[in-house]
């Protein structure tokens, strides 16, 4: 059987930018290769300025590669047709402030050639999906950052693309908003949509990605399945509820009796501040 066409194929991408007056070149991306299979959620992580956005822009044909090649579902990124199957959410997006949520989605839907009832149904469906039915007819000028990010996500999904590219989808959004966005990504993954996202916030990526790549100064430093990358192979964790001090003492004694095993640490697991915040705000909600 023939090999499946990868959703994203980036081969040895190099991108140089001219820096103002002097003819000196700035290498934003230096030989990155990424292959994403259909249905995967891939996270590109790295600090600011490491070339994540530039990689995504090259994949979308917004910048032309200095060398190398990008393709979406086998179609070269420099061709307009390659963008039929892709939705993009840029970082810190601002949409047209004078349009309402529904008008925004209608505008992008029409750009994809959608019309009439199909478009209207799609618009309503997406507004429900991103939980903005109530803000449907409000102008985007009055949207919060989290709402903008969600309308941006809906806009990216308007023509029902098979690939979604998200540049820092959770940056600048409060924990609850960022939770919502991650839940959405989970939903999309269940529907078989391929997601390529990037972030400098490592924890937020951790939960949703099947595979991650770590990029630093334009070079891929490490890439692999998330479990493989973050599992500490020689350690095992046991988390107990309502364990009596006696039980703990017995377990500790048992471990001490075993010469190959070493007790690294025991104590109360910490919740993350984010989880604490979510728990507390949920409790206050009616």
């Amino acid at each position: 059987m023939a090999e499946v066409t990868p959703a994203v194929e980036i081969c040895d991408l190099v991108k140089d930018f001219k820096t103002s007056f002097r003819r000196q070149m700035l290498r934003a991306v230096g030989g990155v290769s990424i292959r994403i299979e259909p249905g995967e959620v891939y996270g590109l992580i790295g600090p600011n300025g490491s070339g994540k956005s530039t990689t995504m822009k090259a994949l979308l044909g917004l910048v032309a590669p200095t060398s190398g090649r990008c393709a979406i579902f086998g179609q070269d990124s420099l061709r307009v047709d390659s963008r039929r199957e892709v939705g993009f959410l840029p970082e810190n997006p601002y949409f047209y402030k004078h349009l309402s949520g529904a008008e925004t989605l209608r505008f992008y839907g029409k750009l994809c050639g959608m019309r009439g009832r199909i478009l209207e149904e799609r618009v309503s469906e997406l507004l429900v999906l991103v939980d903005l039915e109530n803000a449907r007819d409000r102008r985007l000028g009055g949207y919060s950052k989290g709402m903008l990010q969600r309308i941006g996500l809906a806009q990216a999904l308007v023509q029902d693309p098979r690939l979604l590219i998200l540049d820092e989808p959770t940056a600048g959004v409060d924990p609850m908003g960022s939770r919502q966005i991650r839940d959405l990504i989970f939903k999309l993954r269940e529907r078989g949509i391929t997601v390529f996202l990037c972030s400098h916030l490592l924890e937020q990526v951790q939960e949703v990605c099947d595979r991650v790549g770590i990029i630093f100064q334009g070079k891929m430093v490490k890439e692999g399945r998330l479990e493989d990358l973050i599992a500490i192979e020689d350690q095992t964790e046991i988390v107990l509820r309502d364990a009596s001090p006696e039980l703990i003492a017995r377990i500790t004694a048992l471990v001490a009796a075993n010469p190959e095993t070493e007790l690294v640490r025991s104590g109360k697991p910490r919740t993350t501040l984010e989880r604490l915040f979510l728990r507390e705000t949920q409790r206050d909600a009616p």
């Binding site: 917004l62 307009v80 810190n92 997006p93 047209y96 004078h98 050639g113 469906e125 999906l129 806009q155």
Partner: protein, 308 residues
């Protein structure tokens, strides 16, 4: 959300004309919601106000009518020219950098939208707005002229009858007033105003594809607009002083690249009540189309290579 790999929404990706009209109508809405139509109120004040300008200059009772009609026309057409050109330049110079700055351009170009469609759509949106506002202003001017010329006509008729003018004299007086009223030549003159604004919008589009600021684009566009009005004279003087083929080639190139508006001024005579020669109108339309298409294609060449 449909799961079928070939849902109807996916197979249809639309036509060029479809996408251009979507972007054009969006641009139109955007400008309307920036409340640009308020300037129509200013225009209304000027047009209605021009009814009362230069009243003291009336030479004699015979000339009274035509003077007022002339004043209404020249004030109105002058204001239309000013508004349409300023508007075409500033709106075009504003829209492109705004899309780049707000990153809305990324979201548009990340859809299957060719860059030419985007440019053409933006430009058509601005031109559509110029057209609609000129049509509204023209409507108002025509209405004011219509009312005023019929008032003048009946006043002059009374005068003529009381003085016992002969029939041919009355007919010629009536002709004079009608030729100063709203007529087809005046509409042609407004169309020329529209063409000139459209050329300036396309030129501003071209400049804004490589300029980095709205201010720069606007200033350069206005400079070229003024050059456009005297470049023909300058060329004449220049070529007079014994020109080799080099100079001629340069002069030709300048005329090709910078708009040449010398024919566009001919309609000043129309305001004085003369008919607009159809040949001239055809020529001006041809020139207008040439520059507009030329600038759009040049913009596309620059914009296609652009990185954001």
């Amino acid at each position: 959300m449909s799961q079928t790999p070939l849902s109807p929404t996916r197979s249809a990706s639309g036509s060029h004309a479809g996408r251009i009209s979507v972007i054009a109508s969006h641009t139109f809405t955007q400008l309307v919601r920036m409340k640009v139509f308020y300037f129509l109120a200013v225009f209304a004040v000027i047009t209605i106000g021009s009814n009362f300008f230069d009243l003291p200059q009336h030479a004699g009772p015979e000339a009274a009518g035509t003077n007022i009609l002339n004043s209404i026309k020249s004030w109105s057409v002058g204001t239309m020219t000013l508004f349409s050109v300023v508007f075409a330049i500033v709106a075009t110079a504003l829209l492109l950098p705004k899309d780049v700055e707000d990153r809305t351009l990324y979201t548009i170009l990340a859809k299957p939208v060719p860059r030419l469609d985007y440019l053409a759509g933006k430009l058509l949106g601005v031109i559509l707005l110029v057209f609609v506002s000129l049509a509204l202003m023209d409507g108002l001017m025509t209405a004011v002229l219509q009312i005023r010329s019929s008032m003048i006509l009946s006043a002059q008729m009374e005068l003529a009858h009381s003085r016992g003018w002969s029939a041919p004299e009355i007919a010629s007086m009536r002709n004079d007033i009608v030729s100063q009223g709203p007529n087809i030549s005046l509409q042609a003159a407004v169309f020329v105003v529209f063409l000139r604004a459209s050329i300036m919008a396309s030129l501003a589009l071209l400049i804004s594809t490589f300029s980095t600021s709205t201010l720069f684009t606007s200033i350069i566009s206005f400079m070229i607009y003024f050059i456009g009005h005297f470049q023909a004279d300058a060329r004449g003087v220049f070529l007079e002083a014994g020109a080799g083929w080099m100079t001629r080639a340069i002069a030709l190139l300048v005329a090709l690249v910078l708009p040449d508006f010398h024919l566009f001024n001919e309609f000043d005579a129309v305001i004085q009540g003369q008919a607009f020669p159809p040949m001239l109108l055809g020529q001006i339309t041809g020139i207008g189309l040439f520059y507009a298409v030329f600038y759009v294609i040049a913009s596309w060449f620059i914009f296609a290579e652009k990185e954001f």
